[in-house]
């Protein structure tokens, strides 16, 4: 396993149209580590994910992904969107969705080869959906779709995995399965950054947490960071009531 951090942030600030939406983010994620981004809607979680992907420019600070600029590291970074942002009627099979993770490897014009199909099949098996390869993506349950999207990231053979609210609309049985898949990925050296509203999930799935509210409130080991004080700073005086009752919404 390489010693280069999967992600290194130094005083990162991001702005849309000169309006700063997130600032002061500093922290490191080592290979095999996992960090939960915690914060209310509009706190900058999705923005930070986009910055790591190199899709929004930095206003200040430095951000290095696998020792490179975000743009250069893209092929080794997988992004897992919220499954409910995708059209369930789109005519695409589970297998085809997973193959999308191979597209950069396959290159322009060329079609997937046997090696790509094998990688897709193996990735689907890893998330326990090998038998659904030929089903239409939209016919699967929310949790299954989330697993397909993670399989796509696995097929991409990424070293950094970014997940946007992966536990949204997922039943508890699937949650257990997802947690196992993520733990396996971490064990193989993949670093994980996920936004989530669910503090218990953050405790189980992540070693570190980053509390955000348009700026970094705290970054460090979950037990040190997810304190009542920090959460009040991010969510306001009623933090604990909000965090425990809010199942999570989109804030892309």
């Amino acid at each position: 396993m390489s010693r280069t951090p999967a992600l290194e942030l130094q005083h990162v600030a991001v702005a849309y149209d000169r309006l700063i939406v997130l600032e002061g983010v500093t922290g490191t994620v080592a290979p095999g580590e996992s960090v939960a981004l915690i914060g209310p809607n509009g706190s900058g979680k999705s923005t930070l994910l986009k910055a790591i992907l190199g899709l929004v420019p930095l206003q200040a600070g430095t951000l290095s992904v696998l020792g490179q600029t975000p743009q250069r590291a893209r092929r080794s970074v997988a992004y897992v969107p919220q499954q409910d942002t995708l059209d369930p009627e789109f005519p695409v099979t589970v297998q085809q969705v997973v193959l999308m993770g191979r597209y950069r490897r396959i290159g322009w014009i060329r079609r997937p080869r046997q090696a790509d199909r094998d990688a897709a099949t193996a990735a689907l098996a890893q998330v326990g959906l090998a038998d659904q390869a030929n089903a239409r993506f939209g016919t699967l349950s929310g949790g299954q779709r989330q697993r397909v999207l993670i399989a796509r990231a696995i097929a991409q053979e990424s070293r950094l995995l970014l997940l946007d609210e992966p536990f949204n609309g997922v039943d508890s049985a699937t949650q257990v399965l997802l947690l196992q898949v993520l733990a396996d990925l971490r064990a193989s050296g993949v670093a994980i950054v996920m936004s989530t509203h669910d503090l218990s999930v953050a405790h189980i799935a992540c070693g570190d947490a980053c509390v955000l509210n348009r700026r970094q409130v705290a970054f460090g080991p979950v037990d040190d960071v997810l304190t009542a004080e920090h959460l009040r700073e991010a969510y306001g005086p009623n933090a604990l009531a909000i965090v425990s009752s809010n199942p999570g919404q989109t804030d892309v």
Binding site: Y79, T93, Y103, I106, P112
Partner: protein, 305 residues
């Protein structure tokens, strides 16, 4: 039956019309699948209007309609892509502004010609029966070029439609892919506009793909094959119906409009067949397996495909 389908095409002008209509049906069907998956129906409709001033200008000065349509079509495709990058201009607003602006410009240009009404009719509704060999060659060249680009970029275009954020995250330039698709749609509109006119061209682009959307569930490539098939069938049957009606029954059916109406009929027949078969299937299987995609109220009557 066979005679009915082939007899109209003994005259050379009908053969040319058939070749043109079938080519446009196939082309519109395949490109239309991308239009439907990207939900660009309104954009495609706007493009059919923005090519109009170019054609009108070419008509008035006696130049090539294709070149005129291509010039304003390309200008509007680029303008559209740029305008919608501004976050305060929604794509629907940009489309509405361009559509009406360009169309009005076309009307003003064409109103300067002597035979205003007749010229307007040709530009709006087309003249598939007056297609000559040069125009067939232009359509064929446009078609081959377009299909090659669509084939080469197939997986990228599908990825971009399905999951634009993942496409960007993978490092694809979504703006470039969008621009390519917009230009392709423009080319198809320009190629079709002489045959069916700028009002009806949208039907060639949307209706066959909409039929395919009803029938195919799991593959974009299959959707394209089905859409191409229905597009070609619509062109062929439309010409047959228009010939039969005009020659044997004295009905004077405008050929471009008849092709479009044939496609519309095929759409509703397909919809009926799909709804009825789903209904029968859900009735025969366990209630738990009922397809939730369709909610059918009232009685359905059995109709064979």
């Amino acid at each position: 039956m066979i005679r009915l389908l082939t007899e109209p095409f003994s005259a050379p002008y009908m053969q040319r019309a058939l070749v043109e209509a079938v080519m446009l049906g196939v082309l519109g069907g395949i490109v239309g699948v991308h239009v439907i998956l990207r939900r660009l129906e309104f954009m495609a409709d706007a493009l059919t209007h923005t090519v109009f001033p170019g054609m009108a200008a070419a008509f008035v000065v006696g130049g090539s309609l294709y070149v005129g349509a291509l010039v304003t079509g390309a200008i509007s495709a680029v303008l559209l892509t740029m305008l919608t990058r501004n976050r305060r201009v929604t794509s629907d607003a940009a489309l509405a502004v361009l559509l009406t602006g360009f169309f009005s410009l076309g009307v003003i240009l064409i109103s300067r010609s002597h035979s205003y009404t007749a010229d307007l009719t040709v530009l709006l509704f087309g003249r598939v029966l007056a297609i000559d060999l040069t125009e067939i060659a232009v359509t064929a060249a446009t078609g081959i070029f377009t299909l090659i680009v669509i084939w080469m970029l197939h997986k990228e275009l599908v990825l971009r439609s399905f999951d634009p954020i993942a496409a960007e995250a993978l490092g694809y330039r979504v703006v470039t892919l969008d621009l390519v698709l917009n230009v392709i749609i423009t080319l198809v509109v320009v190629a079709s506009v002489k045959a069916v006119g700028s009002v009806l061209v949208i039907a060639l682009l949307i209706t066959p793909a909409a039929i395919a959307r009803l029938i195919v569930a799991r593959s974009v490539a299959k959707m394209m094959a089905i859409a191409a098939l229905f597009g070609a069938a619509g062109g062929w049957l439309g010409l047959v119906v228009s010939y039969e009606g005009s020659v044997h029954h004295g009905l004077r059916l405008a050929s471009g409009a008849t092709i479009v109406l044939t496609l519309t009929t095929l759409f509703f027949v397909s919809l009926l067949v799909v709804v009825v078969t789903r209904f029968l299937r859900s009735k025969n299987s366990q209630p738990a397996l009922t397809d939730s995609d369709f909610v059918l109220s009232g009685d359905a009557f059995p109709v064979g495909p």
